[in-house]
């Protein structure tokens, strides 16, 4: 009888505060919020609720189906010029009406970037777009340098979400000029057009979203969302169990049983569109021989890692590809394999003398990252490689002393360019950091892959790039991690296949509360 009463009482537990208010316990909170400069796995959780792009997509579907957002229609008036009609009566969270000038300002802050963080982001994904220009109060044009095979894809990026011009310029200094300090200030007091306005933001600690009643689209289903950083997994689980949080993020598969056993709680998860990868420094003096790096890669039994750390729920790729890439998904390519005997033979050929190879990892940034690093050391040892895990929070990917480390290659947009491409382009982030080399042949293959409007040609060129990666490896995708969220039964929410990784989409149609 007592158990029945207890069960009834627990089932009737209210959400953290009220019917339209929830609390999210997040493993990480961003240090700043600016969709233009950010492309981190942490930041990507937060932008979609508060900002809009010109073109959106149906996020319930894996294959892109483009939908109007702040642009109501668009067409290519020339192969290198897209014209977009802007939605009318759109308001920013600060009350300003959105104008064509705001849109041009937002796009050109990236396409003609001078603020260094924007320059980096623009270079790795928007380099084909020299500028946007205003045609009239409700029409703009975006120009491309070359014929662009990914128009809608790139115009729907997080980095080209729309922000208010006058508000941003007035944040510091001259209110008529966009200064670097304005963008720095914006990142701490962000304003967009999305269904939730950011009421308070404490960098690295918490964020509060409040329903924006003047949103141009369907009304936000929640009145208020509190996001608080709870770094420790055990603390997040406790917060969910005690009712302190209604949703918690980043739960490793081996912790799910604890939630699933509780009849008042449930989990939702997916193999996130992101690879946890191992990167290797091609330019480290001791790793210059590609056979050593091939052996480092061939020694790793990724299926065993997936089975052990992700309970087999992750996805181990044969090449750098994902189903989200649609026609360019090429699972038949075999770039990365497990072959310890071949690894041993390569080490012998290369005259490996047992020198120590360090593997850097952050202690907790990637779910299971430290565990995978330790397991990889055992796998290396099995083929004769002398590995050592070095734990630290500092990013070492730009250090000449880097030998190997973990990293992630998220799918920033649904195309091989949006995952492998962003990270491993000629003069891209990996090459700029000095651990990856390209040459004329690589660049030529890259050009065909990036810009050909012939789909088959892009596929062939991508396969050729993967062959180059196989010959002279700098990266090994380990797996697509199976990331899970825990939540109360009263919440109906799950990650959607059309989003980039980790997006907490609380827009209309994406979340409902049973008792609301």
């Amino acid at each position: 009888m007592f158990r029945l009463m207890l069960a009834t009482a627990l089932a009737a537990l209210p959400l953290a505060a009220s019917a339209q208010e929830i609390t999210v316990g997040a493993a990480n909170m961003a240090a700043y919020l600016d969709p233009g400069r950010d492309h981190s796995n942490v930041g990507s959780q937060f932008y979609y609720n508060s900002f809009d792009t010109l073109i959106d997509r149906d996020h319930t579907k894996l294959a892109p189906e483009w939908e109007p957002a702040l642009a109501t229609s668009w067409e290519l008036i020339e192969p290198t010029i897209m014209e977009l009609k802007l939605r009318e009566n759109v308001k920013f969270h600060n009350g300003d009406a959105m104008t064509a000038d705001d849109v041009i300002f937002s796009l050109n802050r990236m396409m003609q970037a001078t603020f260094p963080p924007y320059v980096v982001r623009a270079k790795d994904r928007l380099a084909n777009f020299p500028m946007a220009e205003k045609v009239d109060e409700h029409t703009i044009r975006i120009r491309a340098n070359r014929e662009e095979p990914l128009w809608e894809t790139l115009i729907s990026l997080q980095q080209v979400m729309i922000i208010p011009e006058a508000y941003t310029k007035a944040l510091t200094g001259d209110p008529l000029v966009a200064e670097d300090s304005d963008f720095e200030a914006f990142a701490l007091a962000p304003v967009g057009t999305g269904p939730y306005r950011i009421e308070t933001f404490q960098p690295g600690e918490s964020l509060v979203w409040e329903r924006f009643d003047n949103f141009w689209g369907d009304k936000a289903p929640l009145e208020r969302v509190n996001v608080v950083q709870i770094s420790e997994t055990a603390s997040r689980l406790t917060a969910l169990k005690t009712g302190e949080a209604d949703i918690i993020t980043n739960i490793a598969p081996d912790q799910l049983s604890l939630i699933d056993k509780d009849k008042n709680l449930k989990t939702a998860g997916s193999a996130t569109a992101l690879f946890h990868v191992m990167i290797m420094n091609q330019n480290h003096p001791k790793l210059e021989d590609p056979r050593i790096r091939q052996a480092m890669s061939l020694a790793i039994d990724r299926d065993a890692l997936n089975e052990a750390l992700w309970l087999g729920k992750g996805v181990v790729p044969s090449t750098h590809t994902m189903a989200e890439m649609g026609a360019l998904h090429q699972p038949d390519l075999v770039t990365f394999e497990y072959d310890p005997e071949r690894a041993k033979a390569l080490l012998k050929e290369a005259g490996y003398d047992g020198f120590e190879i360090t593997f850097d990892t952050a202690p907790s940034y990637y779910t299971n990252g430290l565990l995978a690093a330790q397991a990889i050391m055992e796998m290396w040892a099995a083929v004769g490689l002398n590995g050592k895990v070095v734990v630290g929070d500092k990013w070492t990917g730009n250090s000449p002393d880097l030998m190997a480390r973990n990293w992630s290659n998220p799918m920033y947009f649904a195309d091989p360019f949006g995952s492998f491409g962003v990270m491993w382009a000629p003069d891209g982030p990996s090459q700029s950091e000095g651990r990856f080399n390209t040459d004329a042949d690589y660049a030529q293959k890259w050009e065909r892959f990036r810009y050909s409007t012939d789909l088959e040609e892009r596929k062939v060129a991508y396969a050729e790039l993967m062959e180059r990666v196989k010959e002279n490896p700098a990266v090994l995708p380990l797996y697509r991690p199976f990331e899970s969220w825990g939540m109360k039964n009263a919440i109906n929410w799950a990650p959607m296949p059309g989003h980039i990784p980790y997006v907490l989409d609380f827009r209309a149609g994406s979340i409902t509360l049973t008792d609301s």
Binding site: D254, Q374, E378, V391
Partner: protein, 292 residues
């Protein structure tokens, strides 16, 4: 009228001359733990670094899904928790011994100089002692390890400077007390130098309080090492220490608590038994208590 014995004498005699049950138990635990740590490579069932990825998070004996041979269960990489805990205790104790010895050498030397030389040298050394006491040392340790990295060498040095000031205070006080005694004055009068006096007459009289302080410092250093490793700044994976096992296992507290409970229990048993051992040695060494 019944004559009652002097209550202080009764208490003192029991403390000094009789080893009570708690002390006996603690000494037995300390001997067992030290022996287990020392002989860990010979007695543990598995290599502490050997992983078995498909046998992760197996519970200890007596629970469902127990994996044969892994009496205290397995950790998040399928490593034997008992083997790691005993090897971890071995490393923790080695670091604590090294740290305590360094602290003894630094503190003892400075205390001796302060006691013998007095004057400005004593003032300078005792100012350093006061500074060390005033600053929370865990914060200093965190700062040093953050700046200099978490190698074992740096860790040992940090542990070494953790408690030197206690040795310095004890040695200085003892030296000053001894200096006033007739046999030291006689040595000075006979023309003996300070090094001869320190070596021949002072040091032998310091051994007893230093042994006691060493034992007490040991348990404090065990806790400091465990704290630093728990915070990820001490012993680095995959090498186990008791603190790092607790630190890395804390995410599994709700689902696999044995990963944390086994090393945590060892930390508790170790510090408790060593602390009692220190108290016991102090009582035995205190002539005022012993001679009553």
């Amino acid at each position: 009228m019944v004559q009652l014995a002097d209550p202080i004498m009764r208490l003192s005699k029991r403390k000094a001359n009789q080893t009570n049950f708690i002390q006996k138990t603690a000494i037995a635990i300390a001997i067992l733990l030290f022996a287990s740590a020392f002989f860990a490579p010979l007695i543990v069932p598995f290599d502490p670094l050997d992983q078995s990825l498909l046998s992760r998070l197996r519970p200890p004996l007596g629970f469902e899904r127990f994996a044969v041979g892994h009496w205290a269960g397995t950790d998040e990489l399928g490593r034997d928790v008992l083997s790691r805990a005993l090897h971890g205790m071995r490393l923790t104790l080695s670091l604590a011994f090294a740290g305590a010895v360094i602290g003894l050498l630094i503190g003892g030397t400075l205390g001796l100089i302060a006691g013998l030389r007095q004057g400005w040298a004593e003032d300078a050394i005792m100012s350093l002692v006061d500074m060390q006491i005033a600053i929370p040392f865990t914060l200093v340790a965190l700062l040093i390890l953050s700046l200099m990295g978490s190698s074992l060498t740096v860790l040992v040095m940090v542990l070494g400077i953790a408690g030197w000031e206690q040795y310095a205070r004890i040695v200085r006080a003892e030296v000053r007390r001894l200096s006033a005694l007739p046999f030291i004055e006689a040595a000075w009068t006979a023309g003996a130098g300070p090094i001869y006096i320190a070596w021949r007459h002072v040091l032998p009289n310091l051994i007893s309080p230093l042994v006691v302080q060493f034992t007490l410092a040991l348990s404090n250093i065990v806790i400091l090492e465990s704290t630093l490793s728990f915070l990820g700044l001490g012993v680095q994976p995959p090498q186990p220490s008791l603190g790092s096992m607790v630190g890395l296992g804390r995410d599994y507290m709700p689902t696999a608590p044995w990963i944390v409970l086994v090393p945590a229990a060892l930390i508790m048993a170790l510090t408790f038994s060593v602390q009692i051992l220190g108290d016991w040695l102090r009582d035995r060494a205190d002539v005022r208590l012993r001679d009553r």
